[in-house]
């Protein structure tokens, strides 16, 4: 029993953080987000060079073979630095889906190496989301097709789909509805296996945004602490006022108690534990709350400055707001949690966390 990260994991995270600090500074992101495509192939290439696109691709396909627990750390950095959806969607979520296909599957074999080397962007259409993120630049789209027997999965080249963009309040987002037709030729998983993939993807997607939300919460806190230390009113930094201190102390508490929930959920998913779904929902709820709460306290402490486009807070705040409802909104996850707790006594009580009593 050791619920901590090892030094390698922490070192990798630190190096990614240092890299993004330089390469994903807010002013660069603003420039990128203002382009039509909203994405920079130059930045993507640098991320690939750092190995970020290869993180969870199996070693046999040129990747690093890492898993959900590593991503729980890494994604906090992506959240902290506001890296748009396409990277984690491709390198984490699509990779997870493809890796779960039979080893000999041609789509798996064809695309995992391209993910690892950074040359492919993959977009995902899951029924829980009413839109597809980053469909417009995708080299491949993996799309769910709900049928009576379960959710099939289909792989489509961009030429086979029609992408209609829909604007998000978050300037980093490029969302779209995608029109397409399912056929035998596009199917990569039938209804039975596909449902397993869809369920796993949903939990992974929820953890993906959970960890980004935690990173965002931390970024907004850091920005706000900086502001509170510098901004003076009534002859002293506003951070010296107890009301401001207590706002921000509460943000710390929310973040610190969301982290272990996230890590545990990631571990459950990695182990394919029977309680993966309820743990993922728990993580999503507390991370979303940390993000939302940090946004609220952040703008309050920033005062009118926080209401401006110019101050960086807004970039992260809007992302926190929208990820709150991505990959299952609060109602979705509360319902799952509620159903599980009312029906599964093994989740309750001392000793239940790591399932020793079940």
């Amino acid at each position: 029993m050791d619920f901590t990260f090892n030094e390698d994991q922490q070192a990798l995270r630190d190096s990614v953080s240092r890299f993004l600090m330089v390469e994903a500074a807010p002013e660069k992101l603003r420039d990128i987000w203002q382009t039509d495509a909203g994405r920079s192939s130059e930045l993507r290439a640098k991320l690939a060079e750092q190995g970020l696109t290869a993180l969870s691709v199996p070693e046999a396909h040129g990747g690093l073979g890492m898993g959900d627990v590593d991503w729980a750390l890494m994604n906090q950095e992506l959240g902290y630095f506001g890296i748009p959806d396409s990277l984690a969607d491709t390198a984490y979520l699509a990779t997870g889906l493809l890796t779960a296909l039979p080893e000999a599957h041609p789509v798996r074999a064809a695309w995992l190496p391209r993910i690892a080397d950074g040359s492919a962007r993959i977009a995902l259409g899951h029924p829980v989301n009413p839109w597809v993120a980053d469909a417009h630049l995708a080299d491949l789209l993996l799309l769910a097709h709900p049928t009576e027997g379960g959710t099939e999965w289909h792989a489509l080249a961009p030429a086979l789909v029609q992408v209609t963009p829909c604007a998000s309040i978050d300037a980093s987002r490029r969302l779209a509805t995608v029109a397409w037709a399912a056929s035998d030729a596009t199917r990569i998983a039938d209804a039975a296996h596909g449902q397993v993939l869809a369920d796993a993807l949903l939990n992974r997607g929820a953890l993906n945004v959970s960890s980004q939300l935690l990173g965002l919460a931390q970024r907004m806190l850091d920005l706000t602490v900086d502001y509170a230390a510098q901004r003076k009113q009534f002859g002293k930094p506003i951070g010296a006022f107890q009301a401001v201190k207590h706002h921000l102390a509460d943000v710390v508490t929310k973040i610190e108690f969301a982290k272990p929930v996230l890590y545990h959920a990631a571990s459950a998913l990695a182990r394919n534990a029977p309680d993966s779904a309820v743990r993922a929902s728990h993580a999503k709820l507390v991370c979303a709350e940390a993000g939302w709460f940090s946004a609220r306290k952040g703008i309050q402490v920033h005062g009118a400055m926080g209401y401006t486009w110019e101050v960086d807070l807004q970039m992260f705040m809007k992302r926190a707001w929208v990820l709150d409802a991505a990959w299952g909104d609060r109602a979705f996850h509360k319902q799952r949690l509620s159903d599980a707790l009312l029906n599964n006594g093994a989740l309750l009580g001392p000793g239940a966390t790591f399932n020793t009593l079940s």
């Binding site: 604007a167 969302l175 003076k232 009118a304 401006t308 110019e310």
Partner: protein, 384 residues
């Protein structure tokens, strides 16, 4: 206590309702933070003025109807129920107008009030400065007397819609040796005066909702000063509390939002009920909006019996700003993953309202400042 409207009040309500039914535009305007939308809203203000509705509580001779505050509440109820456009000259009508009536010379009243009522002039407010936000007494922009003029230098900020306005009312430090709330003067400045530069500030929604105003040796005549020299703080404060407490945010607006929230909830009830906190929040929205309305009627009654509104205005500010935020957050939760789609017709208004609600706990005196005021002035707790 008599909770029946008089026949006259009922007739007034019917008159308002009929007029609005005949005049409220069928199509929603563009945002008033855009040039096009602002023009639409300005024209609507002119239409209101023609109908005699732009400032119902003002005296008739100044373009109002001399209504009492109960009539004002009725007017606001009908206005909100009709989904009539947002008002864009409230800084003038609600803040500067009553101040002019109390402190203005006869010449000033005649010069400014009728034009304000007709929306010939659109007024911006110029109180905040980069280093004088919550701490407004830290104002440093200066007005140096030069014969029968003041020479203005300095910078104002967070001036709502100033890029579309043609006048601004400001506090300046007229005594260079003064500090804090002493030695300030209240000045009315035309925004086309030489030496003025206006730089828009983009808000959260990307629109230019505010501006900074820079003053570089701007000359204004002494007759543009409201109240005595050096008494600007008292002039500004005399009406600020009352306005902030009562007129700034009429309860009808929140009742309308609560009603729409209930409609939204009913429409999406099956999915919303998966999160029990949503139903709770919808009930609270109704309870909050009703409470705010009842509190307003109660306050209006007390004012009509001669009471002055003091620090209670601060409880009002906290209440409506938190209510507004809660209601819009709840709408976001009900809309779920669609809430981020700004062009979705069902989402658009809620999303804009959600963004605007973020500022409610900050402007007009942050809620932290309001809580200090309540504790110190109502409860008598020590300042330090």
């Amino acid at each position: 206590m008599n909770l029946n409207y008089t026949p006259a009040q009922q007739a007034f309500r019917a008159e308002v309702r009929d007029w609005l039914r005949a005049h409220v535009p069928a199509e929603a305007f563009a945002s008033y933070d855009t040039r096009e939308g602002f023009e639409q809203h300005r024209r609507w203000e002119a239409t209101l003025a023609e109908g005699g509705w732009s400032s119902v509580t003002w005296p008739q001779e100044l373009g109002g109807r001399g209504c009492d505050l109960i009539d004002w509440l009725i007017f606001e109820e009908e206005y909100a129920a009709a989904d009539a456009p947002m008002r864009v000259n409230q800084n003038g009508i609600l803040l500067l107008g009553p101040t002019l009536m109390e402190f203005g010379t006869p010449e000033q009243k005649a010069r400014f009030l009728p034009r304000m009522a007709r929306c010939d002039d659109m007024w911006a407010q110029g109180w905040s400065e980069p280093n004088a936000g919550s701490d407004m007494a830290a104002i440093s922009s200066r007005a140096l007397r030069d014969g029968d003029h003041y020479v203005l230098n300095g910078q104002k900020t967070w001036s709502t819609r100033a890029i579309f306005a043609n006048w601004v009312f400001c506090l300046f430090r007229s005594d260079p040796h003064s500090s804090r709330h002493h030695g300030l003067s209240y000045l009315l400045v035309p925004l086309d005066a030489p030496g003025i530069t206006i730089r828009p500030i983009q808000a959260l929604n990307g629109k230019e909702a505010f501006a900074e105003i820079f003053f570089d040796d701007v000359r204004v005549p002494v007759e543009n000063r409201l109240g005595d020299e050096g008494q600007g703080w008292n002039v500004a404060m005399a009406t600020a509390g009352f306005e902030r407490g009562l007129l700034l945010r009429s309860p009808a607006r929140y009742q309308r939002t609560a009603q729409k929230l209930m409609d939204l909830y009913r429409k999406h009830q099956a999915s919303a009920d998966r999160d029990p906190s949503i139903r709770e929040a919808v009930l609270r929205a109704w309870m909050g909006a009703e409470a705010y309305n009842l509190a307003s009627y109660h306050t209006v009654g007390r004012v009509q019996r001669g009471a002055r509104i003091g620090a209670e205005a601060s409880t009002n500010k906290i209440f409506w700003s938190e209510l507004d935020l809660d209601m819009h957050e709840t709408a976001m939760r009900i809309l779920g993953p669609r809430a981020e789609l700004c062009d979705d017709p069902e989402v658009h208004e809620w999303l804009e309202g959600f963004l605007f609600a973020q500022a409610g706990s900050i402007y007009a005196g942050s809620n932290e400042i309001q809580r200090n005021i309540i504790a110190e002035r109502l409860l008598g707790l020590p300042k330090n």
